[in-house]
């Protein structure tokens, strides 16, 4: 038990990798074994996360369950991990979604061994980013996450997968360049990559200091934008978002679930963990620009989504729209740091990350369910399917409403908090963002209208094309998501209070 308590985070972090290595030694033909083993193995980190959540003390400030091992002593980088109220909610989201995504992948029959190994590696990569308290470790995990996702899209994706996976890879790595340079600069300047130490040293730098032959202000501005662009690509913020519809659309169902559910959050998490604490002044100075990009993502994302005829692309663009609210909250928190508005906006942003993880994963899965049966995602090919698949229809409407931000479900709470936090400081931006909120309704209803409602497309009603109802396994994927969506809509305090404590201490 003692070992468990002192190594809890490493266990959660590396168990998926360990499981992946075990899969390597399983016989290649036993697809069923791979599935069940991967599913079972992914449940352990989730169980441990629940234990972690329970043992976590939200009232203590700073990082908890810290572990530190010497890693790269020569340049002062340590393997340092820990969690606070913000990262623990992201860890929970990751370990919660991964088993569901694996369960959703049970219909994959091609190269299952490699598939499930990649999925488990991916989990380690994502968790590492959320836990890292060392910049270099952060960067390493940041990049590790890319590789499995690249192969998942490239090997198990649909028609245009080569283009999409390459775009995803190159684009994200392009952003990483600046990030790596900025990280190196910090490391060279202070001789350490430790976040907790850097927070203090970096911000206590005298503004008169000259760094690398430039005033500290200039250096900080350049480094700020290097960080921002890297994270903006990942979020993705307008106009860095066009990799997302391609990658999401081409990725296999479970890949899209994780991509939208967790990977996008890495970018937003980077803003919260690195950008705002390292560059409070720049964040305040450039909050208008950030808010502008966020609102552009909200409005243009909603419009672009409304324009789609491909169901999956429609959902993909909805992620641009929803993640815009996260960044709007972050921009407001940067501008109003230290005030109540900032706290509400930031808590709302983190909650929105969590909520979007649930509803986007659910939406992508539901698109996958119908795609698996009909082999088309073209909205014009559907129509009036509700009588054929009443259970699926009900679930789709429920999840769509969560995505739309219907009060009583989770999305509303976080959007309300972001709007409330941003309104007093970024009034005009918030007001314009409402246009995006309006069009959220338009594209969600368009999806429901084209798939479920209207005269039935008889093609799916009879014979070999007959559309079959959502099966038990698929319902079991949706059920936990739906329950959590509902709980968070009615009683968000259990999650928000944990986030809120950290937010108040940090911002």
């Amino acid at each position: 038990m003692d070992f468990l308590n002192t190594h809890l985070l490493s266990l959660i972090l590396f168990l998926p990798t360990f499981a992946a290595v075990v899969i390597l030694f399983l016989p290649s033909e036993e697809s069923k074994l791979h599935r069940w083993f991967a599913f079972g193995a992914s449940l352990i980190p989730f169980g441990l996360t629940l234990y972690l959540w329970n043992a976590f003390d939200p009232n203590r400030t700073g990082f908890q369950f810290q572990e530190q091992y010497a890693w790269y002593e020569a340049i002062g980088s340590n393997f340092h991990i820990g969690v606070d109220g913000i990262s623990i909610s992201m860890v929970l989201l990751t370990t919660f979604l991964t088993p569901l995504a694996i369960l959703a992948s049970f219909s994959v029959s091609d190269k299952t061994k490699a598939y499930f190994m990649l999925f488990l590696f991916l989990e380690t990569g994502m968790l590492g980013v959320f836990m890292a308290l060392d910049l270099l470790i952060f960067f390493v995990f940041w990049e590790i996450g890319l590789v499995p996702m690249y192969f998942l899209i490239n090997q198990w994706g649909s028609a245009n997968r080569n283009y999409a996976s390459l775009k995803f890879m190159i684009y994200t790595m392009g952003g990483s360049l600046g990030l790596l340079l900025a990280i190196q600069m910090l490391g060279v300047l202070f001789g350490t990559y430790d976040l907790v130490t850097l927070y203090q040293n970096w911000n206590s730098l005298d503004s008169g200091t000259v760094l690398l032959g430039m005033p500290v202000h200039t250096v900080k501005t350049i480094a700020f934008w290097a960080f921002v662009i890297a994270f903006a690509i990942k979020v993705p913020l307008w106009p860095f978002h066009t990799w997302l519809p391609d990658a999401h659309t081409e990725a296999p169902t479970a890949g899209s679930m994780i991509l939208a559910g967790v990977l996008l959050k890495l970018g937003a998490y980077g803003f919260i963990r690195l950008v705002l604490p390292f560059y409070p002044n720049e964040a305040r100075m450039f909050s208008g620009a950030l808010a502008f990009l966020a609102v552009a993502a909200i409005v243009f994302g909603a419009f672009a989504s409304y324009a789609q005829t491909d169901f999956k692309r429609l959902v993909a663009y909805s992620s641009v729209n929803h993640m815009g609210f996260v960044v709007l909250g972050i921009a407001a928190a940067g501008l109003a740091a230290g005030t109540k508005d900032a706290h509400i906006a930031m808590s709302g942003a983190v909650l929105q990350m969590f909520n979007h993880g649930l509803s986007a994963a659910g939406m992508f899965f539901l698109v996958g369910v119908i795609y698996e049966r009909t082999h088309t995602r073209d909205l014009n090919q559907f129509g009036g399917l509700f009588p054929l698949v009443p259970v699926y229809g009900g679930i789709l409407i429920f999840t769509s409403m969560a995505s739309l931000g219907l009060p009583g479900l989770n999305g509303f709470v976080s959007e309300f908090m972001v709007v409330r936090g941003a309104y007093p400081v970024l009034t005009v931006y918030t007001a314009v963002a409402m246009l995006g909120l309006l069009f959220t309704g338009a594209y969600i209803l368009k999806g429901i209208k084209s798939v479920l409602h209207g005269p039935m497309n008889e093609h799916w009603a009879h014979g070999e094309h007959k559309l079959t109802e959502i099966n038990t396994r698929e319902i079991l994927v949706m059920l936990p998501l739906m329950v959590l969506i509902l709980i968070l809509g009615i009683w968000p305090a259990w999650l928000v209070s944990v986030i809120n404590q950290t937010v108040v201490a940090l911002f």
Partner: protein
Amino acid sequence: MTTENLIWLIPLPPLISFALIVLFTNKNKALSHTVAISAAFLSWLGAMIVFVRALGVEHFGEHPFASSINWLPTGDTWLKVGVLIDPLGAAVLFFVAWTILMIFLYSVGYHNFGQPAGDHDHAGLPPHGATVHGHTVLSVEPMYSRFFAFISLFAFGMFTLVVSDSLLTLFVGWEIMGLCSYLLIGFWYAKPSARAAGIKAFMTTRIGDVFMLLGIAFLYSVTGTLSFREIFTEEILHTLASVPSGVFGLSAAGLIGLLLFIGTVGKSAQFPLHVWLPDAMEGPTPVSAMIHAATMVSAGVYAVIRMFPLLSMDEKTMTVVAFIGAFTAIFAATIAVAQNDIKRVLAYSTISQLGFMIAALGIGAYVAAAFHLITHAFFKALLFLGSGSVIHGMEHGVFHTGNHKVDPQDMFNMGGLKDKMPITFWTFLIGGFALSGFPLVTAGFWSKDEILADAWGHHHYIVFATLAIAAFFTAFYTMRQITLTFLGSPRTEEAKHAHETPWTMTTPLVVLAFFAVTYGWVGIPEHFPVLGPLVNNNWFHDFVGHTLEHVPEAPEFSWIPLLTSLVVALGGLGLGWFVYKDVKSVEQDKFQISFLKNKYYFDELYEVVFINPAYWVAENVIYKFMDQGVIDGVLHIFGPVTDKIGSAIRNYFDVPVVNQFIGDGSAEVAWWFGKNLRPIQTGRIQQYFILSLVVIFVVGGLLYYILTLA
């Protein structure tokens, strides 16, 4: 149980009913409606107990039932949610509980419970009838259970809204109803028109909702609370009124009020967001009654009545409210005159009557607005259910003759239904007279009269005149409707075979008719000739007025508004009867003015100005041009450019410089040296020694020269 706890429980039964039906009982029709009606009954019971207890509390306005809990942590404080029943809440709860229960009961009959399943009925379409012993009879709704699930959720939303103590939970109930109205208007989702109507309703009201959300965010950031009781304190209201908002020269209170009011404009279908409501007639009739009378549109008016203390802090906002209300009242009333669909007449009449309430509020007639809200809820629910009963009776006739081309909703296919459907007729007559403000006996008279009296008494003559003319139109189109539907002789074979509806449908009509008459008597002004002294005091004004900190003064009694309302009501009714008593067909109707029939072409206008451009911009500008053209275009430049740079480096540096010059070049240099040095490598030791000596002398001499001379 304490009253506060009971209030918490009121919204729950319908929610549980919704969950039960969706998850478990949806296969069993009888069980589903039993669950739903029991839930509606439990909520009704709770509401009645709360109402009665509220009557027993002294100074209820100062000591309402209230309780709240922490809900959301916000920095170092909590956002609370809770319940509140004050006099206004109690009065609203009373009518909501009654109308909801009646509508639930009515739905059983309306959806043909007990009838056989249809021959060709299909989920998503209205039932088409079943053949029994060679006769076509009405068939049961294929999605019967689903209907009860949806209206249960709707009821949950409305009860939540009414018992809320804060704008946040009010908004929650508000939006849940928005969803339900979408689902219920589009209930027969396989019909493209129903599907479109549902989306139209959702999107139009959502325009209002996003403004309302902004208003809520604004209010919350300025005051730090959303609770009604905390906002409506002198101190906070004065702060709000004195802080400028920076927009249109409004105070913060004015701007917040305006934003919240836009929410109401959407929800209560006021001009210019009125377009969704007539289309909402695509839903089954009990839905129309739910939406138009009992719940959703009332919710909009209820919200502004709730926010009255805030709204009234800014004159400009109040002027806007009064203008929108009065304009809508007359605008919609004129459209109603030219409609032939029995439900559409009522739809426009609803828009118009809501305009009366909004206008009343805009001129500060707080109590009158609330009074008209309640009486209208009763008589409009009655009228909608009555029209549903008529349609149902007509469908009976249509099935009898088998001529499915006859529209059972078109009033020109009716006539003479008085004898076929007596209960429906008499109750409809009561409802119609209440709507027209038939003097003394009907509830509508007392509430409408109070609005006119207030407008006159507080010198809002323009509003007074507008509303008076609108009231005249109201009486006129109502009598037109009654005459065309019930009086005279049947104009079609189908009307001859119409049939009275079952008890589940007529009972609610009778109950609602009772309230459509008697509810007016609780609000008879004290100074009304003869009757005033008889009832001694105006109970409604006393009770609801105390919701506010400063109880509004009832206007002085004046004969002018009273005579006006008598003249417009009786004149309109009389004229309506006179013009339509002999009309045999639609060609003889002089009011089929296409401008009015087409609702002043607002649908077409919005289609051209907003809806089509929005999609065009989304598809062509934002998606195709911006994302795929500009952004991806720039990205796609990187590929070829990188490729070009790569080949340039290869062709102009790697190949000539690195490969040919450095790589190949160094090899060549080595080879050249090798070749040219070969002659001196003879293999003779003597030659090597001599060469070494020469080198040593030369190098030694050079070193000596450099070291000594330098």
